[in-house]
Symmetry: C2
Subunit: 202 residues, 2 copies
């Protein structure tokens, strides 16, 4: 086995293995697929990886990944700049954009406070968030962190630093997901959902 | 959503999506992980992909992927060159090498005959296999194709073209996998395994 895999192939297998959730077997499958495919596939793929960090930077306003600065969302004058939705990661922003319902702007923290993972408030884009409120144009901050321990900690921390800034602070609703049968919901979600009950509206 | 994903990121997502079994969501996860990681990760990954086809060619003897020609297996004088194990793909060769029990040489066909997938005998490395038998040093050819319809068709085809060459032609054993409970085996495997019964040995 030792020398059955050529070194150049083994290196690519190692690269694929570093991706989240990819084990040795899957990485080998990806690498052999790439080798079996037309060379252009590998070359295009190589080019995308080479240019990734070159081309994509953080938007200096909302801190999401972008090729332009400010990003297309921040520079879209049709969006409501009085509402900021604070998310942990660029992927959360993409998920909310995908739902196609939010018309305000975003602020990306790049993580959540977690002592276990050694992520402190200083590691997040919180100074940048505070500075955005100085202009006075922001009227509401929607905290859309995850309903995990780190997300909760981060939400409370943000509330603390913003509560005297004269902006409305809200949180997205947590509860039973749409389409989910109540009997399959876990206890934490059920009690959150009962606590978040609202008056019935037709 | 349309412009929420920067173009350079979208291109990388498309590259990852082309890998077997990778959907849009997984590809996005891989791409964001790469973007979040140190730039060196993307650059090393890019380099591996760029060099893949440059460095790896087919061994001119056994047709497997190799950086050297002949490959380390074919040029290993400790191996028994009188036995050839014929496999469909380089990954089959790796699996057999991994079992660390076979000491002969290989021949890689790069596919199996399948009219549905438009793979005919001409697409496989069959001429190269016949030519290897001309030297007269090969005494046995072990056919180790998969137990799929394409693998069976290929096995029969090889038997036909080699049967008058004066070499022993064998097939690997098919049956119940080691550690498998008989009640979970499918009918085809069970009948194959009964047909392949051997005298009991202590």
């Amino acid at each position: 086995m030792a020398n059955a895999i050529p070194e150049a192939l083994q290196r690519l297998i190692n690269n694929f293995s570093a991706l989240p959730g990819v084990g040795e077997k899957t990485a080998t499958r990806y690498a052999l697929y790439t080798l079996r495919s037309n060379e252009n596939f590998a070359l295009e793929f190589s080019k995308s990886l080479k240019e990734l960090h070159e081309k994509i930077k953080l938007c200096s306003v909302c801190m999401t990944y972008s090729q332009d600065d400010p990003c297309p969302i921040c520079s879209n004058i049709q969006r409501d700049s009085s509402v900021l939705c604070v998310v942990e990661d660029p992927s959360d922003l993409l998920a909310i954009e995908d739902a196609n319902t939010f018309k305000g702007l975003y602020h990306v923290l790049h993580g959540a406070i977690s002592l276990m993972d050694k992520i402190t408030p200083e590691n997040l884009k919180l100074n940048e968030l505070e500075r955005r409120l100085d202009s006075g144009s922001v009227k509401e901050v929607i905290i859309a962190t995850s309903s995990t321990r780190a997300g909760e900690t981060t939400a409370h921390y943000i509330f603390d630093i913003l509560k005297d800034k004269g902006v409305k602070i809200t949180r997205i609703g947590y509860g039973i997901p749409m389409g989910m049968d109540i009997k399959y919901a876990d206890r934490a979600t059920l009690s959150k959902s009962l606590g978040a009950r609202q008056e019935f509206q037709l």
